[in-house]
């Protein structure tokens, strides 16, 4: 009965446009999207290079990249904390407990996901894709772009996966953001705090937002895939 009442309160907060709640959602989206915007070009280029350029130590680089996939986000937060803390090498920049610190952390967390998805998709693309492009007069760079375009849906899956990982991670955001209301409090850290305080309505409302976001992202992805299929 209490769960139902709490859920009703959560829905009320959502539909009445509760400023605190929607402010937290906005911070979450802003931080995660900027982090992805920064990480995506570098990660896609890295994944593509690892898949298509032979160089000494490539296998080791792939192993390291794939290991980062299972790296706990709280460890990323810890390392970043040590670097950004006042006594750390970048302490003078005053970035700790700012959205910038959260963005850096989330970009680091998203990077291996995006790079590994790109690596796998380019490796999975048949050699014939690149050869067809070359045979039809594409330069090496254009052939590479064509290959990347051909595996775009797999790369996009990596992008959505990366977004899912950063928008829901709590460890790093808590450590380097500090969970400051209205500044660095995002959805996962807010849920954690509200639950600890016994304020379940806020937590459930934010949880609903996260679930709805996940549904929207997956819906958009399937819609895009569908269009690609029909072209």
């Amino acid at each position: 009965m209490e769960l139902w009442a709490t859920t009703q309160e959560a829905l009320r907060l959502l539909v009445t446009g509760d400023a605190t709640l929607w402010g937290t959602v906005w911070i979450s989206l802003k931080v995660s999207l900027i982090a992805l915007l920064i990480a995506t070009p570098v990660a896609v280029a890295t994944g593509f290079a690892l898949a298509s350029i032979a160089f000494p130590g490539r296998r080791a680089a792939v192993v390291v990249l794939q290991s980062f996939l299972s790296f706990p986000t709280v460890v990323v937060g810890l390392v970043l904390y040590v670097l950004l803390a006042r006594s750390g090498p970048f302490g003078d920049m005053g970035l700790l407990y700012t959205q910038t610190a959260m963005i850096i952390g989330q970009a680091i967390i998203a990077f291996p996901v995006l790079a590994a998805f790109t690596l796998a998709s380019v490796q999975g693309a048949d050699r014939i894709v690149r050869e067809t492009a070359v045979s039809l007069g594409a330069t090496r760079t254009r052939a590479a772009m064509t290959t990347l375009f051909e595996v775009r849906f797999a790369v996009m899956a990596g992008l959505f996966n990366g977004f899912g990982r950063v928008i829901s991670e709590v460890g790093c955001a808590m450590m380097v953001g500090g969970n400051i209301a209205g500044l660095t409090r995002n959805i996962p850290t807010a849920i954690s705090l509200e639950t600890a305080k016994g304020e379940f309505a806020q937590g459930i409302a934010l949880g609903i937002v996260l679930i709805v976001l996940a549904l929207i992202i997956n819906g958009v992805f399937h819609l895009l895939q569908g269009e690609g299929d029909l072209k």
Binding site: D126, I128, E131, T132, A133, G137, A138, E150, K231
Partner: protein
């Protein structure tokens, strides 16, 4: 009455390929003329595909001396030759876009504007008899139709040499005849066409010159 001697389009002075100690083939002095259909035969594993890939610059050879359109090279295949020597894969890859975009891909790579590409691609589609299938996504095309798109995609670039790998394998008779017709039209346009296949329909075509790759040697 004397006939004017034909200048070969592509001359293989020396071409050898080995994998470790195993010599796949070692070919000397072979001239391929324009307006001629060459049918490359040989057992599976004899190196037909590898030979075509080397001639298209998609694979390296151990020793390579070629003369193409009057220009001789030794060693590396010049990238610029890819404009005029095109390879069509046995299982052509069609890009995830429309048939027209697939056909126009090479034109786009050559820097032609969309307005210039469109009529050329449309003409190539008509040449291949693909007009009625224009709106069909490439992934839903049959094997024969995929081959036709691949041939149209190569034809639109007007290559001097067309290397085609097993274009009629696994196709029904109707589709095979359509592919054969496209190959004949290409030869009639004074192109040098080299088809690797076991298809009697192609081997027995009037005017076709058989090249048999056996024991590492190419015999005419």
């Amino acid at each position: 009455m004397t006939t004017k001697p034909v200048t070969p389009m592509l001359t293989i002075t020396r071409l050898s390929k080995a994998f470790g100690d195993r010599v796949l083939f070692d070919i000397n002095n072979l001239a391929l003329n324009p307006g001629t259909l060459y049918v490359l035969t040989g057992d599976n594993g004899s190196g037909k595909t590898t030979l075509q890939r080397i001639l298209a610059g998609l694979e390296t050879a151990n020793d390579l001396q070629l003369t193409f359109a009057g220009e001789s090279i030794e060693g590396a295949f010049p990238a610029r030759w890819r404009r005029d020597i095109i390879h069509v894969h046995q299982h052509p890859y069609l890009f995830h876009s429309s048939i027209a975009d697939n056909i126009a891909y090479g034109l786009k790579m050559r820097g032609l504007a969309a307005a210039e590409r469109q009529p050329l691609a449309a003409a190539a589609m008509q040449w291949a008899g693909l007009d009625a299938r224009a709106g069909v996504p490439p992934k839903r095309l049959s094997g024969g139709e995929r081959q036709k798109v691949a041939l149209a995609r190569a034809k639109v670039l007007e290559p001097k040499v067309l290397l085609v790998d097993e274009p009629t394998a696994n196709l029904d008779r109707h589709a095979r005849l359509q592919i054969v017709e496209l190959l004949q039209k290409t030869v009639a346009a004074q192109r040098t066409v080299v088809v690797a296949c076991h298809d009697r329909e192609i081997i027995d075509l009037p005017g076709a010159v058989r090249l048999n790759l056996e024991g590492g040697q190419l015999t005419m």
